[in-house]
């Protein structure tokens, strides 16, 4: 696979702005993480990999609250993304989420729990089977995954589990944007006596029932998760549905 990719990389570079083209590389983790080779084996096994500045991972360099670290993945500059996997090399639970953009742009905002300073990466697979990898370091003081959720103390979530609130924006600079919040403790299972309890799947579909995006979520996604999507165009109501690892399902309609 090495040789054809090199040709592909050269071809890609010719189409990109010089600064971005210079940042394209096939080896040598730009984030210099000691765990990169393991990450590659675990998540991208056997497939060609390209470190690609078109896959943007936006997160604060220092996390104020390790329980709620905002992460925005924007791979919209890269055409033909079929799957994006997000992971954090040094988190006790490494895989954060996967999303399949289908008919929505490859853009997703969410928040994560981080236990210690770590690269946060997004690998976007294009239809040709190449993983395009982007990422950033987040420094944090820890406790994100092994500290109890705030809800765990209040128990309020028991009455409000899977309660969804959301909104679509049809005008202004964020026209076509969807934001969604789901009440869920997202327990990691790393707190003594509290088993893992987290949302596993969220689907977004348009009014005609066509799927816009599928999201597989894992334990590190923050409590009461908030997601930001860009539909690109404001196009009628949206249906969000999903379930957690205990089979609790939700389904909701977000009006235009």
């Amino acid at each position: 696979m090495k040789y054809p990719l090199t040709i592909a990389a050269i071809a890609l570079a010719a189409l990109m702005p010089p600064a971005e083209a210079a940042a394209l590389r096939e080896s040598g983790d730009p984030l210099a993480s000691a765990r990169w080779s393991e990450m590659q084996k675990a998540f991208l096994a056997g497939a060609p990999v390209l470190f690609d500045p078109r896959v943007k991972v936006i997160a604060p360099s220092t996390a104020e609250n390790p329980m709620q670290v905002p992460v925005t993945v924007d791979a919209t500059a890269l055409p033909g993304v079929v799957e994006v996997v997000v992971f954090a090399d040094f988190n006790p639970i490494i895989q954060v989420l996967r999303f399949f953009p289908e008919s929505a742009p490859a853009f997703l905002g969410f928040r994560v729990k981080l236990q210690q300073s770590t690269p946060v990466r997004a690998a976007a697979r294009t239809a040709d089977g190449v993983w395009h990898v982007g990422g950033t370091w987040v420094n944090t003081v820890g406790g994100g995954c092994t500290a109890p959720s705030a809800a765990g103390g209040s128990k309020e979530w028991q009455q409000r589990l899977n309660e969804v609130s959301g909104r679509q924006w049809s005008e202004g600079p964020n026209a076509g944007r969807v934001r969604l919040r789901i009440v869920h403790p997202m327990d990691t299972g790393l707190v003594a006596g509290t088993p893992a309890f987290f949302l596993e799947e969220i689907n977004f579909a348009d009014a005609a029932g066509q799927r816009l995006m599928r999201v597989q979520t894992y334990e590190p996604v923050s409590e009461n998760p908030v997601f930001t999507l860009n539909r690109g165009v404001a196009d009628g109501a949206l249906e969000a549905s999903g379930r957690d690892n205990n089979g609790n399902a939700f389904k909701t309609r977000i009006a235009q």
Binding site: R35, T72, S165
Partner: protein, 364 residues
């Protein structure tokens, strides 16, 4: 990795104390670029030999820096007279670090007829001890009472140096210290390093409530407000005309918001404003920044909070994601305020989720 961080902070104590950081901590990560630099080097657990070498070099470097500034761990506290028989120790308008040792706060004392009334005790045991020595250099009278204005660590972690005298606070402040005190202390060990050595939480021993308080032959008026935290005590010394505002007022420094209820805080500022219009008013001592003879810092604090809460609301209504809110530039009128950029980023973490919830139509 923990060991390496311990070296870099030049402290074994910080290592022992460094536990999980609760999301409710008053002061979060944010010691600045130098801090990030250190972390990147410590995070190479699979190359221990080179990582340790690098870290040793860094530790030596940090130590040599430390000698210049802080090897004696002396805060160089000077009691500044702000009114007759009233003194303040004015801290820097900075964030906690290993150079200032946490001396970023104002504390004060009143020399009353029969003893000394101490208002807030600073960020560490060392600060409390040095403060007590500085008080003794001014007066031979014994300390009669220590008051903690609220439950943030820079205002009560010096209590240990006053363990032999009554320490008083509002009930909600006592609860806050009991619940969060240890986590706060752990966080300050991380941010201020060895300046914190030996510091443990000494909780207040008495409960205050609003109204008149006669202590050591002095009549004080206690005004129980909230908004910066769940309980913020304002002390009016009618004899001198000094209003001790605690952290409801910041002067020349961006306010901190980890436990803020901005609507309550704005109401509290209105009440403080009224206190400065009373006939006997002479001086306002903010929790951070220089004392003033007018209400200017109240207006400054109000302007920041009003802008901040409107900015969070507008951003949530416009559909912004938290990273987009963090990336917004500060308006020119606030951009030059000390620590404005870092406090804004923290405040987004504290305040944006609620604004977002409201914009999404979620129940609070």
């Amino acid at each position: 990795m923990k060991r390496l961080i311990g070296w870099l902070l030049g402290t074994g104590a910080s290592l022992r104390r460094r536990g999980r950081l609760l999301s409710t901590n008053g002061v979060g990560a944010g010691a600045g670029a130098g801090f990030e630099f250190k972390f990147k080097f410590t995070l190479t657990p699979f190359a221990p030999s080179s990582a340790q070498r690098v870290s040793k070099c860094l530790a030596l470097f940090a130590l040599s820096l430390g000698t210049a500034h802080a090897a004696d761990f002396d805060y160089r506290l000077t009691a500044r007279p702000i009114a007759e028989n009233v003194y303040a120790f004015i801290g820097k308008t900075e964030d906690f670090d290993t150079v200032n040792g946490g001396n970023i706060v104002n504390t004060a004392f009143i020399v009353a007829a029969q003893g000394v009334i101490v208002i807030d005790s600073g960020p560490s045991l060392r600060y409390g001890q040095q403060m007590r020595r500085a008080i003794a250099a001014i007066t031979a009278k014994p300390v009669a009472l220590v008051i903690n204005t609220h439950h943030h660590p820079d205002h009560f972690l010096g209590n240990q140096a006053f363990a032999d005298v009554p320490i008083a606070a509002l009930a909600e402040t006592r609860n806050g210290i009991a619940a969060d005190g240890n986590a706060f202390a752990e966080n300050l060990f991380r941010m201020s390093g060895d300046w914190m050595k030996g510091t443990e939480v000494q909780a207040p021993t008495q409960t205050l409530s609003a109204g008149r308080l006669d202590v050591a032959g002095r009549r004080l008026r206690l005004v129980a407000l909230d908004g910066h935290t769940g309980a913020d005590l304002v002390i009016v010394d009618e004899t001198s005309g000094v209003v001790f505002a605690g952290d409801l007022v910041f002067n020349g420094r961006a306010p901190t918001t980890p436990h803020a209820d901005v609507a309550h805080w704005l109401k509290a500022l209105d009440q403080l404003d009224a206190l400065t219009r009373e006939a006997g008013f002479k001086l306002l001592l903010p929790g951070h920044g220089a004392p003033t003879g007018d209400a200017a810092p109240i207006r400054q604090t109000r302007a920041w909070l009003s802008w901040l809460s409107a900015a969070m609301r507008d951003a949530a209504k416009a559909g912004l994601d938290m990273n987009e809110v963090l990336a917004r530039p500060l308006p020119p009128e606030f951009a030059s305020l000390p620590v404005a950029a870092s406090e804004y980023r923290r405040s987004v973490g504290h305040l944006f989720p609620a604004a977002e919830q409201e914009a999404l139509g979620a129940k609070p």
